[in-house]
Symmetry: C2
Subunit: 106 residues, 2 copies
DNA sequence: AAGAATACTTCGTGATATGATGTATTACAC
DNA sequence: GTGTAATACATCATATCACGAAGTATTCTT
């Protein structure tokens, strides 16, 4: 998919992936894969950004001798998803502008 | 609207505004305004980019002593709009992932 | 023993929306 | 007739962000 089109989608996508159950990097990538490709470098950048923004919290857990960082969504994170849904109406209006026949001369 | 969400929408928005009738900067801004805010600096950046990409052509016309640059869409530009429509299916899948209840544990 | 899978990190790069600022003309209100 | 808004386009610096590349380290599979 076009990179620009993904922007604004990825953040909420990641938040959705941890919404109902705490999750960690590798699992998030796999959960999101059916919907959109998400590289590790991209994901960890996003996770860091969301953490800084207070939309999720992190805790480190040892699992089979390996460290895993589990991410949990916060109230701000849930709110972010709701904001996204509200903004989607505007997005759909743009989409309809683009897809309707006639363009601007009507 | 969230800036990130607009990315990937603006280019096709501008192309749509000139799709059925050649147009110029100021008019494009007014035509697109009902759907999304678009500043001059942003628009002229986009127009330059689309021109470089061969998606539109420019011609300068004198109008009341002032110069106007009229933009006309090319076949590549029309194709760009079609590509956008195709990609929209993926966007909607992401949207449904975000809005469906249940998150990842199902 | 070797390679794939798991798991996270860091760095540099390119694309891009936007505010600020500038230039220049025309239309209009007072 | 003067000032202000509207028309019209241009440029620059900045901040945000997705991504590939490369790295570290462990476990599982064959």
């Amino acid at each position: 998919m076009d990179i620009q089109l993904k922007r604004g989608l990825l953040d909420v996508c990641v938040l959705t992936a941890i919404k109902n159950e705490d999750s960690y990097g590798y699992k998030i990538i796999k959960d999101v894969k059916p919907y959109t490709e998400l590289s590790e470098s991209t994901l960890y950048t996003i996770l860091k950004r969301l953490e800084t923004a207070g939309m999720l919290t992190v805790r480190t857990v040892e699992h089979d001798g390996r460290l895993r960082k589990y991410y949990r969504i916060t109230d701000e994170g849930l709110e972010r998803i709701e904001e996204f849904k509200k903004e989607w109406k505007e997005v759909m209006q743009i989409y309809q502008f683009v897809t309707k026949e006639g363009g601007c001369n009507d």
